[in-house]
Subunit: 244 residues, 2 copies
DNA sequence: ATACAATTAATTGTCTGACAATTAAAATCG
DNA sequence: CGATTTTAATTGTCAGACAATTAATTGTAT
């Protein structure tokens, strides 16, 4: 662990960086215990508050966890898929909202990525995945469902589709991306007619995966994208009209 | 901003959460200035070090930036694509290394996602993208190139391919994913024969994009994946042999 | 000897108060 | 009016203290 600090940059940031490097490079392995705050103060030649600020930076990225008490201290955290999702989602969500990504771009990206794993899903999806998808389709066809709930169910449907590919890396990347786009997708108002269309496409898509027909599944996803794009456009136009 | 803190959880974590919520929900907009540390201490009823730990947590996620001086303070940060990349890459890299994702899975995910945008690239790639790709192919054919450099150039090539899709969301998601897999891809040793094959596929792939032939581009990517998978397997077998 | 209780030590969490460094604005002076 | 100095506000860092928590150790009674 590098202990040479330059005095002109934030000390806590440099210390956090040094420890992060040690973790990423494998010098500090999972569940390894870091020196106590007092020891770190000594080795880096800074005060304990400064060390603590550094440790909080790392804790914010789920790189370490801390525990009080006799055998307490800071331990290198095994980054779980769930934690990683969470961070990716907040990051992506902020990125999309702050940089004013338009609906069209977000939608295009989402469906492009989904098409990426539909071929694998057609080969590997389990009965559980198909059941989960059909369950969501059923929920979507319930009368009186709010737009938000319909949208949430839509996400769950696509999540099952993605998980069907049986590749955790793909699931991780896509789930993060799809969830991050939720705020944008949530702007849509789903009236009765498009809901019918979407539900029909979802049903057919599930059938296609059951039959291992990847090509048809891709075509159906493209159709879904077109409907979604149209709905988004309509919604935006309606808003612009209400505004002006 | 919620100021009600429960005494049994980390105060700095709760404060960070409260401010983060205010940012994500839009109560605090980009470039808004947070109250000074002294003011935050008062409103939350905690000491300044505690407030500072909370702010460092947010800074670690690039949610705020701080500046010293008269008009200094903590400001809500506009998350840039670069910062978001950086965070996604460290998170994904750690996730892959700590959870022992195998080469096959990582490789499959990478190429699946690349196929996701090749269709768009075939439509939209500019002359600049094609030029960048050809430049990397040229570098790859230089004699005496180290495996690591070859690999880095490979990433640059695929990065140009992805950017060619002209969708910043797609670029962001994919660039992060591809870079995170670098440590795994770097294990490969590229001997002369596979290099030739790869370079040939890269050239043909560039041509396909230039001609707008999406179908052929996808096929070529699949061939590239097969070669990469084979190389990975060979490398791993060689390592296992050397070990045992 | 064993089960249970009290003590102890190590460690993080928090507070107080102080001073240094930095920065922009305000005041001063030529 | 322009350049320089002063001032005020703010973050960065430090030192020392005490509270809270936790596990190990010690002590004690059965």
């Amino acid at each position: 662990m590098k202990t040479q600090l330059s005095p002109d940059r934030d000390l806590s940031a440099q210390i956090a960086e040094a420890i992060r490097d040690a973790i990423v490079s494998g010098q500090l392995i999972v569940d390894a215990r870091l020196p106590s705050e007092a020891e770190l103060s000594d080795t880096f030649g800074v005060s304990r508050p400064t060390v603590r600020e550094a440790l909080k930076r790392l804790a914010a990225q789920s790189l370490i966890r801390t525990r009080r008490g006799a055998t307490g201290g800071a331990y290198v955290n095994r980054l779980s898929y769930d934690e990683a999702y969470g961070q990716q989602i907040t990051t992506s969500t902020l990125l999309l909202s702050m940089n004013e990504v338009d609906f069209h771009t977000a939608c295009e990206a989402r469906f492009a990525m989904e098409r990426a794993c539909v071929a694998l899903s057609a080969q590997r999806r389990s009965a559980d995945h198909l059941a989960a998808m059909r369950a969501e389709v059923h929920r979507q066809s319930q009368p009186g469902l709010s737009d938000e709930s319909f949208c949430a169910s839509d996400v769950a449907f696509h999540r099952a589709l993605v998980d069907g590919a049986g590749n955790p890396v793909l699931s991780y990347q896509l789930a993060g991306a799809v969830e991050a786009m939720q705020p944008l997708m949530n702007m849509i108002t789903y009236s009765a007619r498009p809901r019918e269309q979407i539900i029909h496409l979802h049903t057919t898509l599930t059938d296609a995966l059951e039959n291992g027909d990847a090509a048809q599944a891709e075509t159906l996803l493209t159709e879904l994208e077109q409907i979604t794009q149209m709905l988004g456009e309509t919604t935006l136009q309606a808003r612009a009209k209400a505004k002006g």
